[in-house]
Subunit: 323 residues, 2 copies
C-alpha cells in the first residue's frame, strides 16, 4: 500500500494487510440475531456488533490501521483529527496503544460519554462549534500548533481500508448474505464495506441508511455529485458529516441504494434493538433497522448483514425518554 | 435421573444429560469482558451473558430441562408455575417449543416487558398480589383448575439441574476461575452452579450476591436455617423469593459466602455495565458487580466468573432516571 494512495488505488490485498496489522488491537466482534426482529421485518438479520468493539465503535479499525502503519519518524508529534466522537476516541485508543500523542477537535455538543472516553484513553480535546465550518477552522489551528499527522475520520484511505476489515469478518461469520446495510455519515464504513464486498462477494447488495434530517448522502447519490450541508441536526450524532472525494468514489461506484428514516423511526428502531437484542447501541446504529422496517419489500425473505457501528450513549439522555 | 429426586441425589451426570437434552433449545451464551471494569475492581471479570439467552434469561435452561424431560402422557395438561417473571416467560418459551399448554401466576407488579414476553410465547397469565402468600394461594387455584405439571421456579431438581449447565459452559469458556458469583433469590442458579462447580472445579469459590433489602438468603446462611420474608421490596425484582429445601441444600453445603448491596449500589453497578459492556441487563443481574465493588479485598487479583442472569427490563423505567 502506498503511503497516501487515493481510493481508486485500494485493493482487497490492502484490506488483508490492514486486518493482520490491527488484529492484536481490535476485537473480532460477535454477530447477534433476534427471532422477534426477524419476524417483524420478514428478513433474516445478522447484527455485526461493533458496539462491542474496543472503544465502543468500528472506528477503532481505521484508527489502528493509520496509527500502527505510521512511519517511526512521525511518532514524536503523534496524530491529530476532528470528529463528532467515535473517531476521536478510537484514534486516542490507537495512539495510546502505540504510545504517541493524540490531539482531537470535537464539537461542544458531542455526548459527554464520548469526551470522557477520549480523555480516559489519553487524548487531548479542543472543542469547536457544532458545524462543519467551525470544526475545520479549529482543526487547522490545532494541526499547525502540534504538527501531528492528520488522520481524517473517514476520507483517509488508511482509515477506509481499516473499516473494510469489518465486513470481511461478517462475510466469514455469516457464510454470505444477500445484502449488507450500514449507516452513512461521511461514508467511511460504507466505503470500507464496498472495498471488501465488491471484491469478495460481488453478488451482495450494499445499502446505506441515513437520517432524513441529515440526508446529504442520499441527495448526493441521487444527484450524482457531492452535496454538503452545514450543521444538520439529528439524534444520530455520528452521521452529521458530509461525503468527501474518497468516500464518494465508493458510494458512487458500489452502493446499490440509500434509504432514509425520520427521527421517530430511528428512536423506535433503537429501542427495539435494546429490547430484543439486549445490546446498547447508539442512535446512529439504529438507522439501518429503521430503514429496513420502512422498506420491507426490499429486504423481505433475504439474509441481511446489519452493521451496528457503535455503543457510546449518554445513558442519562435516552431519546425515547425526552419530553 | 429419577423423576423427582431430591437435591442430595443429583449428580454431575444429571447435569450432562440435561445439557444434551436442552442444547437444541438454548444458546451457548457469550462471555464478555471490559478493561475498564477490570481496572475498577482490580479483578479479571468474565461476564457470562445469560441476558442474551433465549427468552432473555438463564431460566430457560431449567425450564427446558423440565419441559423436554416430561413424560408424554403429561403433555395434554401441560405445565404451570408461579414466578416473578423470568421463569414464567422461560417456561412459556419451553412449553411453546414442545407444543404444550403453560399457565403462569405472576405478581401484578411484574415488569410489563416480562408479561408481554410470556404472552408472545403463548403462555396464559393469572395475576396475584406481590407477596409470597398471595402468589402461593393464587397458584393453588390455577393448578387445581388446569391439572398441569407444576414446575417450581427454583426448588425443582429438574430446574436446578438445567441451571447447572450455565457454569459448565462458563468453565469451558474461561478455562477455569478462582471464583464464580451469581445473584441469589430463590437460589436456583446458585444451586446449579454449586452442582457443577463443586464437582468439576472444587477449588473454585462460589459466592452469592443479594440486595440488602431482600437479604433473607444472607440471614439464612448466617443463621444456619431458612429464613423467609413476605413481600420484600427491591429494584432487583428477580430476587424477591425465599430459599426452599432443595436450594438450601446447595447453599448450606457449597456456598463460600453471601454478600449484599444497597439499592444505590445495585443501580450504579447496573449503569456501569450498560456503559462499559454495552449490554442491557436487568437490576438483579447487577447485584454481583455491586458486591464485588463493595468487597475489593475478596476479589482483587482474581479471575471471577460473573453470571449475568437476565436482560428483561422496562426501558421506559430505568432506575437511574427516577425522580
Amino acid at each position: 500500500m502506498l503511503d497516501h494512495p487515493s481510493a481508486a488505488d485500494l485493493t482487497i490485498e490492502d484490506m488483508r494487510v490492514a486486518h493482520d496489522r490491527i488484529k492484536p488491537h481490535i476485537r473480532r466482534t460477535t454477530v447477534m440475531a433476534s427471532d422477534h426482529l426477524n419476524d417483524l421485518t420478514g428478513a433474516q438479520l445478522f447484527f455485526k456488533c461493533e458496539n462491542f468493539q474496543e472503544a465502543g465503535a468500528f472506528k477503532v479499525r481505521g484508527a489502528c490501521n493509520a496509527v500502527f502503519g505510521l512511519a517511526d519518524h512521525l511518532m514524536p508529534k503523534g496524530v491529530c483529527t476532528h470528529s463528532s466522537g467515535n473517531h476521536a476516541l478510537s484514534l486516542s485508543y490507537a495512539a495510546g496503544r502505540r504510545g504517541i500523542p493524540c490531539n482531537v477537535v470535537m464539537p461542544r455538543t458531542a455526548p459527554q460519554a464520548k469526551k470522557d472516553a477520549v480523555r480516559r484513553y489519553g487524548g487531548t480535546i479542543t472543542e469547536c462549534d457544532p458545524s462543519t465550518s467551525s470544526r475545520e477552522a479549529t482543526f487547522a489551528e490545532v494541526q499547525a500548533r502540534t504538527g501531528g499527522e492528520f488522520v481524517h475520520p473517514y476520507n483517509d484511505p488508511r482509515v477506509i481500508t481499516g473499516q473494510a476489515t469489518c465486513s470481511a469478518e461478517l462475510l466469514e461469520q455469516t457464510g454470505g448474505m444477500d445484502a449488507v446495510i450500514a449507516p452513512i455519515g461521511g461514508g467511511g464504513m460504507i466505503s470500507g464495506t464496498c472495498l471488501t464486498v465488491s471484491n469478495l462477494a460481488p453478488e451482495t447488495a450494499i445499502y446505506a441508511a441515513e437520517p432524513e434530517q441529515a440526508d446529504d448522502a442520499y441527495r448526493s447519490f441521487k444527484a450524482g455529485h457531492i452535496i454538503a450541508d452545514d450543521a444538520p441536526k439529528t439524534v444520530a450524532d455520528g452521521l452529521l458529516v458530509p461525503l468527501k472525494e474518497n468516500t464518494w468514489h465508493f458510494v458512487s461506484n458500489h452502493v446499490t441504494d440509500i434509504f432514509t428514516a425520520s427521527e421517530e423511526e430511528i428512536i423506535e428502531a433503537m429501542k427495539l434493538t435494546w429490547k430484543h437484542l439486549r445490546v446498547v447501541m447508539e442512535p446512529s446504529s439504529a438507522v439501518p433497522l429503521a430503514t429496513i422496517l420502512k422498506n420491507p419489500e426490499v429486504f423481505r425473505g433475504k439474509r441481511i448483514g446489519v452493521i451496528v457501528t457503535g455503543g457510546n450513549v449518554d445513558l442519562d439522555k435516552l431519546p425515547w425518554l425526552k419530553g
